[in-house]
């Protein structure tokens, strides 16, 4: 039995296979409509997350399976003081696979230690969000045709942004990737990520505060939201939230082939008028999230 707690739980070959399966689902959805017939997915969301939960649930429905679960810890026995381990042991009596989100970092790992069914980490605090990373990798593959050799810029909150840390970690296993880190001083990528991921893997990277200049050499620009919930201090949040906004004017000077990704939800860091620009991939990216989760559910359920 396999779990997905961290993106590194999957080998590069397994990620390639998931991407290939997701692409096949996109091309032949009818072939997959009954793959999980009779199977049940439990979505245990101890903190709210509409889009990730709906993506998982839609993925299971489109595989012909069923969904149980809760979307708020207030509706679970957690509010009565039940531990994560006990909740998981009970739910694994009813479901064939569990996707869980929890505000505490490491909760999915605790779940995986006691679960009788596969656990998928659907986000644990500011720590890991491996299915978002799979979504990003599928999107980049579909938009650019490949991942090796790309120059990928990350813009915004690189300090607290778990999607950024996970994607950089995943990219460290591809060839000739160049990373451009674009952020204000206060939200720079943490030193330990630079040391243990970028430098440890001999990846080429630069840091800059100048979005306009950095964009000129990018194949992919990964925008992030400055997340209010990651700040202890509201004054810091208000001061930094508008630091890097992608506007139509800015995009006019960007390369014609540069793809713009965003894990969503956005606040105001990408101007709405940009949505019709063919380089804006973020809604196609959200759709990719459903397909890669379908591929992942099949893999962990060992459905052929």
């Amino acid at each position: 039995m396999r779990h997905l707690i961290d993106i590194l739980d999957l080998s590069p070959a397994e990620i390639d296979q998931l991407i290939a399966t997701a692409n096949d689902i996109i091309d032949h959805p009818a072939d997959y409509a009954e793959k999980c017939h009779g199977k049940k997915l439990a979505t245990l969301f101890f903190e709210p997350s509409t889009r990730t939960r709906l993506s998982f649930e839609t993925a299971m429905y489109e595989l012909g399976g069923h969904v149980i679960g809760f979307s708020d810890a207030a509706n679970s026995s957690t509010s009565k003081g039940e531990t994560v381990g006990d909740t998981i042991q009970v739910v694994s009596c009813y479901a064939d696979i569990i996707a869980m989100r929890h505000p505490k970092e490491g909760a999915p790992m605790v779940a995986s230690q006691v679960s009788g069914v596969p656990i998928i980490n659907a986000g644990d605090g500011g720590h890991n969000h491996p299915t978002q990373t799979l979504t990003d990798l599928l999107t980049i593959t579909r938009e650019k045709g490949h991942i090796d050799g790309l120059t990928i810029g990350f813009c915004g909150d690189l300090k607290f942004g778990r999607t950024v840390h996970s994607l950089i970690t995943a990219l460290s296993r591809y060839k000739d990737i160049k990373i451009v880190l674009i952020s204000p001083e206060e939200l720079r990528l943490p030193e330990y990520v630079k040391h243990e991921v970028l430098e440890h893997n001999n990846m080429t990277y630069v840091e800059t505060q100048d979005l306009d200049s950095a964009m000129q050499n990018l194949d992919v620009l990964y925008m992030t939201r400055v997340q209010k919930e990651r700040f202890f201090n509201e004054a810091d949040y208000l001061r930094l939230k508008d630091s890097y906004i992608l506007t139509v004017d800015r995009m006019e000077k960007a390369p014609a082939t540069m793809s713009v990704l965003h894990p969503l939800p956005r606040v105001n860091e990408i101007e709405k008028a940009l949505d019709s620009d063919p380089r804006a991939c973020y809604f196609r990216q959200a759709l990719c999230g459903k397909y890669i989760r379908m591929a992942l559910i099949m893999k962990l359920l060992e459905v052929k």
Partner: protein, 142 residues
Amino acid sequence: MVIDSIRDGIVIDHIKTGLGLEIYRLLKLGKLDCQVAIIQHATSQKGSKKDVIKIDSPIEIDLDVLGYLDPGCTVNVIRDSKVAEKYHPAIPETLTGVISCKNPRCITSAESDLPHVFRLTDKDAQVYRCIYCETMAKKIKI
């Protein structure tokens, strides 16, 4: 200063000076009912400074704690006033129940029954990270 030699017990020798008290704390030696002596800033045979701990009882020593704090120390098991065995603690791959995760967002902060487990992630720099949230353990300052 004279501290009697022991007949049956443990001598933890060649402790990096300043770490003796931390080893005493993490090995919970204060809970023993035998005599325990901590000698700080002792002079070694090579003339350098070291700490030494003498325990007047043949207890089991958690070598993981010593390997984590000071892999350069030695553990001498004394029987009939002679060194019967000598150990050099290795740097442990995992530490369970030795140090605590200080990350308020870690699941261990919410569920007190969970064991605090750290894994060695960088042997050269001796970096340990919480297995749940990957927060780095703070280095012991001498």
